[in-house]
């Protein structure tokens, strides 16, 4: 791999954490804090830093040994270890044995790749930890530098600019008028044939003939179309009434077919 430029960001001072509190409470369910370590990767990074070599040149085998020793010690002290630490220990033990096995028996992914992956992760975590330390060490507003203590403030006075247009105005007036006008309901005088006159007319016509007649033949001829509707309705009701009284018979061959009726002689 190409040699990355030497950078202060990945140089690893022993302690750049002064002034930073230890991990917040409330995370206990997720990991056990061993002397303030936040998880196995954090512990590994700390062990790596103790080797005092550049993380890019660190011996992963040494690191694995140190981690496994640490876990052994913790178990010897009967410290309860979070599952994360044990999972990492198991994985590192596997990695160690794979690194020590002859090359031909390697599976995919190769142990070298796994070791490199771990190394890269440690580098990234170290870089961010270092960056965090440098960020926190900056001159901070409200701690090292201060804004104006008592600013007058800039004020923005909001003024409403009311909008309404001519059409909305006259439309509103029209609607008030339409709404508040006294409402008068008028029913137009229409020509109707009353039930009584229909009854008289149909009964009289039934007395004249014994043949079946269609209902429409009972309507007054040349009637105004508006009167015709009324006459049809009244004549139909009159026919029903006469049938009920036994004075007429009605027949209809099909639905909506012509309705015929004739008189019944007593």
């Amino acid at each position: 791999m190409t040699d990355p430029a030497d950078s202060p960001a990945i140089a690893l001072p022993d302690d750049d954490w002064q002034g930073v509190a230890t991990a917040a409470a409330g995370d206990e369910a997720l990991y056990l804090e061993l002397d303030g370590w936040e998880g196995p990767l954090d512990l590994l990074l700390d062990l790596a830093r103790r080797q005092k070599v550049d993380l890019r040149r660190i011996s992963i085998l040494d690191l694995v040994d140190q981690y496994l020793n640490y876990i052994d010690q913790a178990e010897a002290l009967r410290l309860e270890l979070a599952a994360d630490y044990l999972v990492m220990a198991a994985w590192l033990a596997y990695l160690k044995s794979a690194l020590l096995l002859p090359r031909e028996e390697q599976e995919d992914p190769s142990p070298e790749e796994l070791a490199l992956r771990l190394q890269l992760r440690l580098q990234r975590l170290a870089a961010m930890r270092d960056a965090a330390g440098r960020l926190m060490g900056r001159d901070r507003l409200g701690r090292d530098v201060f804004g104006r203590g008592n600013p007058e403030g800039l004020r923005i006075d909001r003024k409403a600019l009311w909008q309404c247009d001519w059409f909305a105005l006259i439309q509103a007036y029209g609607q008030i008028k339409a709404r508040t006008q006294p409402v008068v309901h008028l029913v137009r005088d229409r020509m109707v044939m009353t039930l009584d006159s229909a009854l008289t007319r149909v009964a009289a016509m039934l007395g004249v003939t014994l043949d079946w007649m269609e209902l429409k033949d009972f309507l007054p001829p040349h009637a105004d179309p508006k009167l015709r509707k009324s006459a049809l309705a009244s004549s139909f009701v009159a026919a029903l009434e006469l049938a009920r009284l036994g004075k007429a018979e009605m027949t209809q061959d099909e639905t909506f077919g012509p309705l015929r009726l004739r008189g019944v002689r007593a």
């Binding site: 104006r148 008592n150 006075d157 409403a160 009311w162 309404c164 509103a172 008068v184």
Partner: protein
């Protein structure tokens, strides 16, 4: 521009700037290890005298404030376009067609109680003003439209407001049914129209 101010001057400047209250000479001095800050304050006050910010002493306490001649910059008016509400439009229309008109009269024409705020908004907008009191018991305030109203709505005079028959011709009387509209062609509509027109004329 000038040579770098000395450290005491800079410290006094920063201390007064950062303080949440005006500071007495003693308080400033206390911050700065007991140094004598009088000369520094005098020099700073002189430096800032021409600037947008002044260092001033008020009741033996020092603070920075913006230059009095720039105070108007610290407030800014922002105009927000707001649409007149339906109720506002109706009340405005009634004032325009019937002015001068009292609030009770507006309510009787609208058939709805008129919230006090509605007339306030119309007065804030500059379209309606109080023109006096009606000479009846209770002496209610009466309202009329303003010249700004005519300007805003593009009217030469209130005579330009369409009459009832024109509104109807434009379909703005918005009847519910044709039959109903036809039925309303009765005598009462005619009367209203005449009233409205008379009002308009007399107001001019």
């Amino acid at each position: 521009m000038s040579d770098r101010p000395d450290d005491l001057l800079r410290a006094v400047e920063a201390a007064v700037f950062a303080s949440e209250q005006p500071l007495s000479i003693e308080a400033i001095s206390l911050h700065l290890g007991g140094a004598d800050v009088r000369a520094a304050l005098a020099e700073l006050a002189e430096h800032y005298a021409d600037r947008g910010v002044h260092l001033v002493e008020r009741g033996k306490r020092w603070h920075f404030e913006t230059a009095p001649d720039l105070a108007h910059l610290l407030r800014r008016e922002r105009e927000e376009v707001r649409r007149l509400s339906r109720a506002g439009t109706e009340v405005l229309a009634i004032v325009a067609y019937h002015e001068p008109v009292s609030r009770a009269e507006i309510e009787s024409i609208r058939g709805v109680q008129t919230a006090k705020g509605t007339l306030d908004v119309l007065m804030e907008a500059g379209w309606v003003r109080i023109v006096g009191r009606r000479d009846v018991p209770g002496r209610p305030v009466i309202y009329a439209t303003t010249p700004d109203f005519l300007t805003h709505f593009g009217l030469e005079s209130r005579r330009d407001l369409p009459g009832i028959d024109e509104l109807r011709a434009a379909g703005l009387l918005d009847p519910v049914e044709d039959a109903l509209a036809a039925a309303m062609d009765g005598p009462s509509a005619e009367t209203e129209l005449t009233d409205a027109e008379e009002d308009t004329d007399s107001a001019d």
